[in-house]
């Protein structure tokens, strides 16, 4: 591997890891969303610093071309992230639906109450 691509791989992985840590620190990320990204960034940093780990891992699981193992693992991680997002989207949709229902019910009760308050306060005003 030539030194430039070696340095480039390390830099890319390091930047990704730092970005995730920084976003976590600034609370732009909840921990459960950050998990898969942290895992991916740490793995890619390790592999970019010590490419031999990838070669070793692929020989262990019997993958002939080491980069294919890297692609496979990336796809698996992305898969989990999107599945998690779909599931949380469903939860959020359900929550907004419940909120919308509550707003509608509260609004209706409020208008009934306002009407009855206005009706009961009107006669006293006409006396004045």
């Amino acid at each position: 591997m030539n030194p430039v691509s070696y340095a480039f791989a390390i830099a890319a992985a390091a930047i990704a890891l730092l970005a995730i840590i920084e976003m976590l620190r600034r609370q732009r990320f909840r921990e459960r969303h950050a998990f898969w990204w942290l895992l991916a960034a740490i793995l890619s940093l390790v592999v970019s610093i010590f490419p031999s780990t990838l070669e070793w891992a692929s020989s262990v699981v019997g993958v002939e071309v080491p980069s294919n193992l890297a692609f496979f693992i990336s796809i698996v991680i992305l898969f989990f992230v999107t599945v998690q997002h779909s599931s949380e989207l469903t939860t959020l949709e359900e929550k907004t639906r419940v909120l919308a229902e509550h707003v509608a019910l509260v609004e209706q009760r409020l208008s009934v109450l306002t009407d009855s308050v206005e009706r009961s306060s009107q006669p006293s005003e006409s006396i004045k």
Binding site: R97, A100, E101, V103, A104, L105, E107, Q108
Partner: protein, 239 residues
């Protein structure tokens, strides 16, 4: 009729300012003593004002949730305000309120009554692929509900006390949730379903689609909705 006093007529309405007032007035005059609830499903026109002026109680959803979402709110309102029965009617006037007593009478021996469009009365008719799609659905759901149903996608339905309590918590908001999934959910939850023939009136606007492509997509999505409904864990009703 004392039956009407604890019956709530729910109308999901999305941009129906032209038709809704006439339908509400007709409901209130043909069914004396009944309360009419319009669920304004995120309309951008004056549906809410028009409905309120016509004498209905109006619940306004801040954005469109679809018929399923609107109906769950209707059932919730029914439970909170002590209504025992809920009748669902379209706000566009295609359902005739004079059929409601027939539906309510059948609630004596069933939890859900469907106003079926092809069961003899009226001249409502669809042809071609859409008809086959509806037939297939009706056959499958009849099996699940263990009764003979010919029209499962009708929006004209009545629910008795058990079904109202079930639906207030569990009415599905998925695509076709208000027809297919709600029937599957209720019959697996131990509710009984029957149908009553009703005559349909022409819709205020628009013709049902006869495009074979659209019908195929419809059948596909309906089948998907059915499979998902059957996969879900059944819910049992208390009491």
């Amino acid at each position: 009729m004392p039956l009407l006093l604890d019956t709530l007529v729910v109308m999901p309405a999305f941009n129906e300012e032209e038709a809704v007032a006439a339908v509400i007035k007709e409901v209130l005059s043909t069914l004396p003593g009944v309360r009419c609830l319009v669920v304004n499903d995120g309309s951008t026109d004056r549906t809410a004002q028009v409905a309120r002026e016509a004498g209905a109680t109006v619940l306004t959803l801040p954005f469109n949730l679809g018929v399923g979402g609107a109906m769950r709110l209707g059932f919730q309102y029914a439970v909170e305000n002590g209504f025992e029965r809920v009748v669902q009617i379209d706000a566009d006037g295609q359902h005739n309120p004079s059929n409601v007593p027939n539906l309510l009478a059948q609630l004596e021996n069933a939890d859900i009554v469907i106003g079926a469009r092809f069961a003899g009365t009226g001249d409502y008719d669809v042809t071609g692929p859409r008809k086959w799609a509806m037939k297939i659905l009706a056959t499958i759901i009849s099996r699940i509900a263990r009764t003979r149903l010919t029209d499962v996608t009708s929006g004209f339905k009545a629910a008795g006390p058990r079904a109202v309590r079930l639906f207030a918590v569990n009415y599905p908001a998925e695509y076709l949730g208000d027809t297919i999934e709600s029937l599957v959910l209720a019959s697996r939850g131990g509710c009984t379903v029957v149908q009553v023939p009703v005559a349909m009136r022409p819709r205020a606007g628009g013709v049902p689609s006869q495009n074979p492509m659209k019908s195929a997509v419809y059948l596909g999505r309906a089948a998907m909705a059915l499979v998902i409904a059957l996969w879900r864990t059944p819910i049992s009703v208390r009491g």
